[in-house]
């Protein structure tokens, strides 16, 4: 096996690099959305909501934020389902 050949084998990079190319506006939108959601969860505390309203609002905003980060920033929305399930199923169980 010559070096050039093996090199080609090890780095099918050009083909792979197509992956995860999304317009920059996606990231900016999500960034803004995360800001808004964080601001909302901050308001929950600011307005002194109490009891179940407080807890459900906190959890709602938390899961929305977490979902956005995982799906968009960590690119899980664009991964193949095999990976998505492999990560989410054990997490969901915990």
């Amino acid at each position: 096996m010559t070096h050039a050949e093996s090199h080609g084998h090890a780095n099918p990079a050009p083909a792979k690099l197509e992956g995860q190319a999304h317009p920059i506006s996606v990231y900016l939108w999500i960034w803004g959305l995360l800001f808004v959601l964080s601001f909302f969860s901050y308001l929950v505390d600011y307005f002194h909501f109490q009891g179940f309203l407080r807890w459900s609002l906190i959890l709602l905003f938390m899961f929305l934020k977490a979902g956005l980060i995982i799906a968009i920033f960590m690119h899980m929305a664009w991964e193949r389902l095999a990976l998505v399930y492999a990560i989410l199923v054990p997490t969901g169980r915990s």
Binding site: A10, N11, A13, A15, K16, L17, E18, G19, Q20, A21, H22, I24, Y27, L28, I30, W31, L34, F35, S38, F39, S41, Y42, V44, D45, Y46, H48, R54, W55, I58, L59, F61, M62, K65, A66, I69, I70, I72, F73, M74, H75, E79, R80, L81, A82, L83, Y85, A86, I87, P90, T91, S94
Partner: protein, 239 residues
């Protein structure tokens, strides 16, 4: 007899959806198609790390229930006085915004990395590291403030001693993650800047060839740190 699939596997149709799950898991060589080794490793590591933070948060919730002394009013403890008025959780809110911003810059660094835009990638990674360092700095400020007010791991003037213990342990462990991330971000920025990833220079310790997937892997870790903060913010500061 010729078969195009033999000479050019890429010509085969790629299954999607649930069929894709089955065909990926039952195929040879790799279960996660087009996923580099490093990225698969990072995902599995993050899965394991999730369990670490989950255990921390569950433990914190349990001692918060088990302690006999009332829990302090978190909103008050973390309030800052601005212009003579007490604003609850102000510092924590700013820290949250900073960490989210760092996640934003990181996501864009990954994007420009895949476009092989060396300059923009390096600058965005540096910006991420700067945000991260700011976050750690503000956390240091917060720790100092609380320690000055008499909060200790074994007790505090506001209420249950478990408040201080959980606070220092959980934010400390998260801050440690952020600090490690900042160090690695700086290393990654240097690598990108020098063009190590374009030239595929072998790494200093591991001998692994550089490529822009490394930026994405670094990004996964960084977003995870942000993700953990989302949970800490909800369960520790707001609950």
């Amino acid at each position: 007899m010729t078969n195009e699939a033999l000479t050019n596997p890429a010509s085969l149709p790629v299954e999607n959806g649930l069929k894709g799950v089955v065909s990926d898991w039952s195929s040879d060589q790799r279960a996660f198609k087009k996923v580099p080794w490093g990225k698969a490793m990072m995902w599995v590591f993050l899965l394991s790390d999730t369990f670490v933070f989950a255990s921390f948060l569950v433990s914190y919730m349990t001692v918060r229930i088990s302690t006999t002394v009332p829990w302090p009013n978190v909103s008050k403890v973390f309030s800052l006085t601005v212009g003579g008025q007490e604003v609850p959780l102000l510092l924590i809110a700013i820290m949250t915004f900073i960490l989210i911003s760092s996640s934003g810059t990181m996501a864009m660094a990954v994007k420009f990395g895949y476009q092989k835009d060396r300059r923009k990638t390096a600058l965005l990674i540096l910006a991420t590291a700067a945000f991260g360092a700011t976050f750690v700095g503000m956390q240091a400020f917060e720790w100092t403030k609380l320690i000055m007010e008499g909060v200790r791991p074994w007790g505090n003037p506001f209420g249950a001693p478990q408040f201080g213990s959980s606070f220092f342990m959980i934010t400390g462990f998260h801050g440690f993650h952020v600090s490690v991330g900042v160090v690695f971000l700086l290393i990654m920025a240097a690598k990108v800047w020098r063009g190590d990833l374009d030239r595929e220079t072998p790494g200093f310790l591991t001998g692994r060839r550089g490529n822009y997937e490394m930026v994405e892997i670094m990004g996964l870790y960084w977003h995870f740190v942000d993700l953990v903060w989302v949970f800490i913010f909800a369960f520790f500061y707001l609950w």
